[in-house]
């Protein structure tokens, strides 16, 4: 079964991860921009970060036969940082036109501050201007209120819910989001957020429409194989193959295809390093003997 991983910060992962993800059936990965675990001190750091995501990281992924897409934005945490927030917003129009950028994100709330709210709204407008869907992060603390505030702002701006993926949902937020028309993301984590058994229960209870799961793997304790692991449990619990495929492939693909920049034909053609025109690259550490 092919898997589209709709949320993984691959920039902070090692090549072993790519290798294992590819073996486990992940053929495409979406990298949302976020913070780096510590605050950046200048806009230039964002330039390099965005360049790395659309350049080097995509290249790295392809060496393992994985297609790499991304969403770019000013993240909610650093929306609070006046050293960078306005500057990054000014950068975004140029980057949002880049190939492989299939959305604006992660945007949304972290501490639910007025600055976060202002930049969230501004970036929903950017998404509209560049005809891109939005990937919305929800806070780890006071999550339900964060989700409610998110939905309220979308309504105020008249932003179409079918073009929004609200991420990091839990049992508490599902009832709030389920009837809005938004796509719902769940991050399966080793210790925090959501785990596999709870996830299967949610899918059994609420169905698979507009549901996507991800590993949200990053620089913290996380596991880029969480989707395939959840798939295993879904099978063990008797979920039908087509339902599983809907959650790990069709739903994320059709959501990000709303950008008009996800080439479905291309997705059907596996990338393999062997297909490249010329042998060798630095990840494989130069031409072999």
């Amino acid at each position: 079964m092919r898997i589209f991983e709709p949320h993984a910060h691959m920039l902070s992962r090692v090549t072993d991860d790519y290798e294992q993800m590819a073996l486990a059936g992940i053929v495409a990965v979406l990298e949302p921009s976020f913070w780096l675990g510590q605050p950046r001190t200048s806009v230039g750091s964002f330039v390099d970060y965005f360049d790395a995501i659309i350049g080097w990281e995509r290249f790295r992924a392809e060496q393992f036969g994985i297609r790499h897409y991304c969403t770019l934005s000013l993240n909610p945490k650093e929306a609070n940082d006046d050293r960078v927030n306005e500057g990054v917003l000014a950068l975004l129009p140029r980057y949002l036109e880049k190939d492989g950028v299939v959305g604006v994100g992660e945007i949304g709330f972290d501490d639910i501050t007025p600055r976060e709210e202002r930049h969230f709204a501004a970036q929903l407008e950017l998404a509209r201007a560049h005809d891109l869907p939005a990937l919305v992060h929800t806070p780890h603390r006071d999550k339900v209120r964060g989700v409610e505030r998110t939905l309220a702002i979308m309504r105020e701006l008249n932003f179409p819910p079918e073009r929004v993926l609200i991420d990091h949902n839990t049992e508490q937020t599902v009832p709030v989001v389920i009837d809005t028309g938004c796509t719902m993301g769940f991050s399966i984590y080793p210790d925090t957020k959501m785990d596999e058994p709870r996830m299967v229960e949610i899918l059994r209870r609420w169905g698979t429409d507009r549901m996507v799961i991800n590993s949200a793997a990053d620089w913290g304790k996380s596991d880029p194989l969480k989707i395939p692991k959840t798939v295993t449990l879904m099978r063990q619990k008797g979920m039908a193959e087509h339902e599983i495929e809907k959650v790990v492939w069709h739903n994320p693909v059709s959501f990000f295809a709303k950008s008009g920049r996800l080439d479905l034909r291309e997705l059907d053609t596996p990338v393999s390093p062997g297909q490249q025109l010329f042998e060798g690259n630095s990840i494989l550490r130069g031409p072999r003997a």
């Binding site: 659309i54 290249f59 036109e97 880049k98 190939d99 291309e266 690259n281 130069g286 031409p287 003997a289």
Partner: protein, 397 residues
């Protein structure tokens, strides 16, 4: 065309000559021009020759020079090659019993390639026709609109369109065997490694009625990997001043094969304008990355003793580690031989890979050290491969 014909007649002591061009629709060559040494000589060139037939048609189809007797005349023809694509053939014939030698054939190929370059369409036109059959109609229309804006000098139109070229036109390999021609340097820029989006981006830049060089530089530094490749390939076509050399240097520092290749291989801008030290490092890195150094245009004119030393030191490092060595290094280092090189090359004459044997033979031919002769003869007596045999024979000549 006339000058080329007269030049060929003089060079080979031939009496009549002709240029044939390929019909774009049918597998035939059509007579495009003919000259005779003496007004009385009957031209007697067929107006049309089937692709693959006769000396001219055969040379075009084979992509290499051919000799034969036609109409009781000794005839020599060479394909008009752009890259690996034959757009026609140049043929000369002599009434007497003149036999054309292998050296004549090679000299004829140099002339026919020069004529092909002279006949090549301007880059923008060539790129349009390369793309025409390969992209769908809406993509073509988008490209027409955008290049028209570029031709009006609308810089912003290019800046906005540049990132979108891949999703508008496609990113697949262009699959062309042909080459563009840079008139000012009189060099070919082969399209073999280009992708469809490269062709689209370079078309936009070539159409620009402004400072394309400065724009390419800017688009490089604000671009993603594919945009950067496009900007570098654009510079290959029109870069002439050091203004954008920093973008090439940036690309030479990356480990992305795709980017490094666009910066160096088939890129006359890079090979002409990189300063000495940086150029040597780029050549060495090409060998290291697996980009054939034979694809660096003008390399042989720039190679010096220091570069030769660096390449051979790399060879030693690879050999110590028990790894393979790129064969195309040999003819280059032969231009500045180091002690022991002739012995090493004699050894490579017995290498299991044809490419090594041929390259070592070419290198030995260049060095011209008589001590190598018995080894070359010895190998020639046992050599089966046509390409290697030819290189060995030339080394002995």
């Amino acid at each position: 065309m006339d000058d080329a014909l007269i030049g060929a007649l003089d060079a080979f002591g031939a009496t009549v000559g002709a240029v044939y061009l390929r019909d774009p629709e049918h597998p035939v060559l059509r007579l495009a021009g003919a000259r005779s040494k003496n007004a009385g000589d009957a031209p007697a060139w067929a107006a049309e020759v089937a692709w693959g037939k006769g000396v001219a048609g055969g040379a075009a189809a084979a992509g290499e020079p051919l000799t034969g007797v036609e109409h009781d005349r000794s005839t020599l023809a060479a394909p008009l090659l752009l890259g690996d694509d034959a757009i026609g053939a140049l043929a000369v014939a002599s009434g007497g019993a003149r036999d054309f030698s292998g050296a004549d054939a090679q000299a004829m190929l140099v002339r026919s390639r020069a004529l092909a370059r002279a006949l090549a369409p301007p880059p923008l036109e060539a790129l349009r026709s390369e793309l025409a059959g390969r992209i769908p109609a809406p993509a073509s229309q988008w490209l027409d609109t955008t290049t028209a804006a570029a031709a009006r000098g609308e810089r912003e139109a290019i800046v906005t369109s540049f990132p979108a070229v891949g999703r508008r036109l496609g990113r697949e390999p262009l699959g062309s065997r042909s080459a563009l021609v840079r008139r000012d340097f009189d060099v070919e820029v082969p399209l073999r490694a280009w992708r469809i989006d490269d062709a689209g981006r370079v078309a936009l830049l070539c159409a620009f009625a402004g400072d394309a060089e400065a724009l390419a530089r800017e688009l490089y530094f604000t671009g993603d990997l594919r945009e950067r490749c496009g900007a570098l390939r654009g510079l290959a076509m029109f870069g002439r001043s050091p203004v954008a050399v920093d973008s090439v240097l940036d690309a030479c520092r990356t480990s992305s094969m795709e980017l490094f290749e666009a910066a160096t291989a088939d890129n006359p801008y890079t090979c002409r304008l990189l300063p000495e030290e940086e150029f040597r490092n780029a050549v060495l890195k090409a060998a290291f990355m697996g980009v054939s150094i034979a694809r660096l245009p003008g390399l042989e004119a720039r190679v010096d003793a220091e570069l030769s030393r660096m390449l051979l030191s790399y060879v030693t490092e690879r050999e110590v580690a028990g790894r393979s060595v790129p064969a195309d290094i040999w003819p280059v280092v032969a231009l500045h031989p180091t002690p022991g090189l002739v012995g090493k090359l004699c050894g490579y004459l017995e290498h299991p890979a044809e490419a090594h044997r041929a390259a070592a033979a070419r290198a030995l031919g260049r060095i011209g050290d008589r001590r190598a002769e018995p080894f070359v003869r010895d190998r020639l007596a046992r050599e089966d491969d046509r390409m290697v045999r030819r290189a060995l024979e030339r080394a002995l000549a």
